[in-house]
Structures are given as structure tokens and as C-alpha cells.
Symmetry: C2
């Protein structure tokens, strides 16, 4: 059983260099909906082109369709990554796609630094949001209010913290779009009862403020050839 | 900085139809080692062929190298999946690769039903192991002792429970191969502080014994054309 092509479509946005766990965590939670018509939606991966894309790990990912094939999605999720994601903030095709999609989508989501792509597209202006802990200053600089939560909802926008947080966000979102029982069944299916072997994160290992400034500075450097983005990132313009 | 080609190689085995989170969870934990020579190993994905492979989700994965290119790995991890993984139990190329690799590997690991591939290759005979909760009877039938734990170590073999459990296993294994500090830094990097939105799994939603029998029967059916596997799975031979 497959969803009809007319079903509401949830689009996972692929681009070169992303962090695959950002994508695959929530995709694994949502993908089975493709086999259950009662879910009422189908899930696709979409990129600028249908071709194998490098990631930050030794594996390439190929999306199913092109972004242009799914212009009016029911929902969108944008994964994050490291420097390639910062570079993708400067990609007008993806930014324009998200701005258009957000007009009518039921939800627009991100994982990790995917939030920076939403933010640079102007979609998180004045909103509460989250991102990978190390990139929070860049998010703030782009007009959002950063919260160090596992995920943050503000209107139709839902943003998850770094990398693995996409799984938690996806289970929450699946319950919102279907019901709690469906989400709990999915949790069982992926046997999601985490036992981090060393317990919670040891936040004393990092200086979040310092990391935040360093990552913001890095973003300014990576995007320095774009005057408009440089201005939005608060870069001092040489001259 | 990249690891030299002579570095100890950890191989993630790809095959068509796998569950991508089984693979990507541990891969995301290990992949950064490729950029830190002090880790002492490099990580690759390998398949029978270097080509985009379908998965159980709407995304295709392409491995970096062929299994034949990495015949003597330092470690191996085999992800699982649904019916395609059961079919892969009947793939002699992958079984033979694992048997050969296990002779000299420092560790041989699996996630989810990847354990069934190890088991059918004879590698878990008389060992304690785990797998996806629904497939435990198949694992037992193949000669292992199933434990419902997040991961199980027995000698050089380390097996994780279903799908998401590969992340926990990988952090543990990374600490074993490097040190706890390195693993905790990686936990921070992937911001792995899970908050399942509905708390722990509600095991009352399933009848594990019944599921186990159903999945064992399914495995017998899928592999019914192979007399040797049918015998090992305890299938009643017609005629």
C-alpha cells in the first residue's frame, strides 16, 4: 500500500554536506506513514537535483524528487550540518523554496543548524527557536530568540536542538499530526528507549558563549562574499 | 586532515533495503574519527557494489567502497531492517565477508536485525546477544541467547537492540576504542541528551512472545527456498 501522489506531502530537504543523522532521525519516524493511508500524508526527500550528495560522513544520500516537484508541501523539515550548512544559508534556491513553502505549509521544521537556514530566510524573525548549542549566537543574530530546549514550537515553526534531537521532535510532531498512540507505536518500532552510556551531557566540557561567538564569526567568514548576508550577520564591512 | 589509507578500518556494511537509522546512528558517532588521526582508525561504508541503494525510507544510500576493497577490517558494524534484512541473511557474499572479517577483527557489531545476519553466519553460536525486540525468537533459533538490553557484548561481538539503540552502542564502543572523554565529546557534538516525548516505551502495547513467533515464521517463509537456512530456522520441511 502506498500513499496516492495527491496525499499531503511532507518534504525533507536534502543538500550537499548535511549531517545525515539530522535527516535520518526524523525521516525514520515519519517514513512508515507512506505505507499507511490512514496517516493522511506521504513523506519524500527532495533536493535541487536528484543525485547522490556528499554528507559530513562517509556515505552519500540521494533524494527521491526535486524541490521543484513539491512546491506546496504540507510540511517541511530542514536538517543541519557543519560548514556546508552555513554555506547553504547562502543558497537562494533553498531559501526561496522555504519562504514559498512556509506560506501554506501546516508546519516548517528544522533540526540542528537547519534552523539557521530558516532564520536567514527570514522565517524565524521574532520567534522562539532552537538550534545546535554551539550555533546559538548565529540564530540570535538572525532575529530569533534561542532557547536551549530539545525542541521549540512557535506558531507553525518547530525547531530541534543539535543532531539527535530531531528524533524527539519528530515523535512529538507525529503525535500532533496523528495521535499519541501512533507516535508511541513508532517509538516502539524504532525501540527508542535511549540509554546514553555516560548519562546526560556534561555541559562543563564546553563554553557555550565562546563557541557561539566563534561559530558566528565563522558564519560571517563563510558568507563574507554576500553583502546582504554579511549585514544581517552583523559583520564589520571592510572599507 | 584525513586518515591515511593504511589506518585501521571500521566498515559499516550497506545492503539494499536496510533501515537507515540503524546505520546512520553509529556512523554519525564514528565518522568524525576520519578527521582526527589520533583516533587511530578510519571509517568507511561498504557494499557489494558502489551504487545508490534503496532503503526502507524514501532516500537512497551509496557506500564509499566495495566490501572486496576492505577484506581485513579492524571492526565491522552491520545495520538491520525489515524484510530486506531477512532476505540478506540468505546472501552468501555478505555472510562470507563477515565470517572472514571476524577472524581478525577487533570487534564485530550489529544494530537491530543486523544481529540475525551475524547469527545466520554462525558468528553468535552460544553467545549472548540482542536484536530488535520483535525478532528475538529468530535470534534464539539461530543459536544465540537473547537479552533485552540496549546493547550486549560477548567477546569481540557487540549487538545493539532495535534501530535507535545503535547510537548508545556506538558511544560505548567509541569509548572502548578511544577513551570516555572522546565519547563524551562526541555525545556533546551530536547533542545526545534524549527526551522521548512520551517517556519510556510502553511495552504493554505489544506481545513480544507473539511477535517473536510471527517474525520467526516470516523468516522461514522468506528464506524457504534455501534448504540449509530453512533447517537452521527450524522450518518444517514439506514432503
Amino acid at each position: 500500500v502506498q500513499q496516492p501522489a495527491s496525499a499531503k506531502t511532507i518534504v525533507f530537504v536534502l543538500y550537499p554536506g548535511l549531517t545525515p543523522l539530522d535527516l535520518i532521525g526524523p525521516l525514520q519516524v515519519f517514513a512508515p506513514a507512506n505505507h499507511f493511508p490512514e496517516a493522511g500524508f506521504r513523506v519524500v526527500t527532495a533536493g535541487e537535483r536528484i543525485e547522490p550528495m556528499e554528507t559530513d560522513s562517509p556515505v552519500r544520500l540521494t533524494p527521491e524528487v526535486r524541490l521543484a516537484d513539491v512546491p506546496v508541501p504540507y510540511g517541511v523539515i530542514v536538517p543541519g550540518g557543519g560548514m556546508p550548512t552555513i554555506r547553504t544559508m547562502g543558497n537562494p534556491v533553498i531559501r526561496d523554496y522555504l519562504v514559498e513553502a512556509a506560506r501554506s505549509a501546516e508546519f516548517v521544521g528544522s533540526v540542528c543548524t537547519g534552523a539557521l537556514i530558516l532564520a536567514v530566510a527570514g522565517l524565524l524573525d521574532g520567534r522562539k527557536a532552537t538550534t545546535h548549542w554551539a550555533h546559538y549566537r548565529t540564530l540570535e543574530q538572525l532575529g530569533a530568540t534561542y532557547l536551549r530546549q530539545r525542541w521549540v514550537e512557535d506558531g507553525k515553526f518547530i525547531t530541534a536542538a543539535g543532531v539527535s534531537a530531531g528524533i524527539d521532535m519528530a515523535l512529538h510532531l507525529l503525535a500532533r499530526l496523528t495521535d499519541e498512540q501512533t507516535a508511541k507505536q513508532m517509538q516502539l518500532s524504532i525501540e527508542y528507549q535511549p540509554e546514553p552510556p555516560f548519562g546526560p551531557i556534561d555541559w562543563s566540557l564546553v563554553d557555550q558563549a565562546q563557541s557561539g561567538e566563534a561559530r558566528l564569526q565563522q558564519a560571517r567568514e563563510i558568507l563574507s562574499t554576500d553583502p546582504e548576508l554579511s549585514r544581517r550577520l552583523g559583520a564589520s564591512i571592510p572599507g
